[in-house]
């Protein structure tokens, strides 16, 4: 019995049950909501969020109040860079990937250096970086047109690629497998949990804590950059601040996936389910015929309700 209860309390199980329930609810409210094509479209949107959340996930797992508020800015920046480098030509895809990854890694590196060398709290450092990135976006936007996605990239994101499933979903699955492997089967992954649960003990055990933390922020920046590129492929051209919404929703996806904001506990499989859950919820609210104000109120209230299922803090005891 206890074992069953523990199993049911698993965040991944909660998220999967909620996803099924929401799909059912969506189908009831608007028939066709849970049809194959519609579910694929939801998964494409979820994969964009899920890829950003992968980076957010490792930073949060790394502990010491780890959080990356700059991911939204990196997503927007990467979409612009990719649009300009490829500018509608397939030949530009590879240089665009390289340029975006470099940009993501660069801003991740700056975040990591601030957090480790100057010991600035991650929230403050990445918040400041978000301001810098937003300023940079204005500069770039005034100087050059926003650029277009190459047909190859758009096809990869929106068209069936393999077994009728778009390439971005395969990419997301691959990232999921890689993340699971990295977190649970490699020394690097074990070290993430080690510094996340007890930084000092990890340091004493010989884990290069600072390098690890810098690497985590760089990974976060690069995942955000990949998502930014895919977002460009999804929308065709980038517009102002496309990535802004990803900052806080990536954190929510991580929390819904059962990763503790305190670090050291959780994983990416849950986060993937969390991202899908969040996207389905938003999608149901857009199918229901209520105006924007009602939609936001229901969304906010539902988020709070869902949070009640996950890792609430412990009650104070003497």
């Amino acid at each position: 019995m206890t074992r069953i209860l523990t199993f049911v309390r698993e965040p991944l199980i909660i998220a999967l049950v909620l996803i099924a329930a929401l799909l059912y609810l969506g189908e009831m409210l608007s028939p066709g909501f849970a049809s194959g094509g519609q579910v694929l479209r939801l998964l494409i949107v979820a994969s964009l969020l899920g890829i950003v959340a992968a980076g957010q996930n490792v930073v949060i797992l790394g502990g010491r109040e780890g959080i990356d508020l700059s991911v939204g800015g990196v997503v927007s920046l990467s979409a612009i860079i990719a649009g300009n480098v490829m500018n509608g030509a397939d030949g530009g895809i590879v240089p665009a990937i390289l340029a975006c990854l470099a940009a993501g890694a660069f801003f991740g590196l700056l975040n990591g250096l601030g957090v480790t060398l100057l010991r600035i709290p991650p929230l403050v450092m990445t918040l400041g970086m978000l301001g810098v990135l937003q300023g940079l976006l204005v500069v770039i936007r005034m100087g050059i047109p926003s650029g277009r996605a190459a047909p190859g990239l758009s096809g990869f994101v929106t068209q069936p690629f393999f077994f009728g499933i778009p390439g971005i979903i395969w990419l997301w699955i691959a990232i999921g497998v890689l993340m699971a492997f990295m977190l649970h089967r490699t020394v690097f992954g074990h070290r993430i949990y080690a510094i996340g649960s007890n930084e000092h003990a990890a340091y004493m055990a010989g884990v290069p804590v600072r390098l690890m933390r810098i690497a985590l922020f760089m990974i976060s920046g690069m995942f955000a950059a990949i998502a930014g590129m895919c977002l460009l492929g999804y929308s065709g051209s980038s517009f102002a601040n496309v990535g802004e919404q990803y900052t806080l929703s990536s954190i929510i996806a991580v929390v819904f996936g059962g990763t503790s904001l305190a670090g050291g506990k959780g994983g990416y499989t849950g986060t993937m389910a969390g991202a899908i859950l969040l996207v389905i919820l938003q999608s149901i609210l857009t199918t229901v015929n209520i105006d924007e104000s009602g939609r936001q109120m229901v969304f906010g209230a539902t988020l709070l309700l869902l949070m009640m299922f996950y890792g609430r803090g412990r009650a104070m005891r003497a």
Binding site: V124, V132, G135, M142, L248, Q296, L304, M307, G313
Partner: protein, 329 residues
Amino acid sequence: MADVAVTPRARAGGIRKLLERYPFLPALVIVAALLLLNGVFSPNSLSYRSLTGLLSTYMALIMLAIAQTYVVYAGDIDLSAGSILSLVNVAIVVLMERWGGGAGAVLLALALGLLLGLACGLVNGIVVAALRLQAIVATFATSIFFTGFALYILPVAGTPAPALFWRTYGGRLLGVPFVFYILAVLVVLLLVLSRTRLVTQLLAVGDDQQAAFQTGLPVVPVRIKGYLLCGLFSALAAFCITGDTASGDPLVGGKMTLYSVAAVVLGGSALSGGWGTVVGSLLGALTIGLINSVVFFMGTPSEWQNFVQGLAILVVLMAGVLAGRRARA
């Protein structure tokens, strides 16, 4: 030789003592330096009139930063402060308009606005302290809810505030600009609050929640009271923004939340709680305002302004953290 070796240490100790007693000193130095820079690039910007303008524009951010400070004291954070500001802004503007915009209507609307701010704070407090949800994500969720409510009250920006209200805010009383009275009342209010037990309790909870609980502090009610104060000051911030923009806008505060957090850090308070001053946050908010104006007066090309502002804020944020740490060390 011994004397030479001792003197610098003694001096460093003196600075440390000074920082301990007045943790907002670095912020004050930054504000003074920025004022000087403003004066260098545009002497006119230091005129009485310009400074009054600066104060009335940034009074809302000052209030919001102070609001944020009280939750940060307890180691919490409120990402909904900006949306409480928006909600109170549209609520009072719509109520004032509906009731005719007379003095009685304005005062009644303001009273209701304060209650609304307190109610939002209570919701946040219950959600974070009593239901024990994580503050960052829970207050983000409530911010979505509050924004929805604001959109329900006023779907699009534009309803004007009654002339009586913004003329008073931007005007003069007995020859002195009205914002100075607000500032004076604010300072008195903060002084009174700083003498209350609540602030000490908030700091104790922020310093070590478990220890505070074990010494018998009612941790949950204390944290809720922190959020109540935050809601109250967010409502006051809404009054200031309404006076400044003279209209209702359901999204006006969205961008201000993160600035309020930045202002708190600039003021030398620790986001981890247990350490900080409201005066620092006030100066932090002024710092953000002064940076924006320096960047403008420096003649920065318009497309670079946001970038330079962002960079400057990042740099002073780092300075704020480092100075705050030195003071605590």
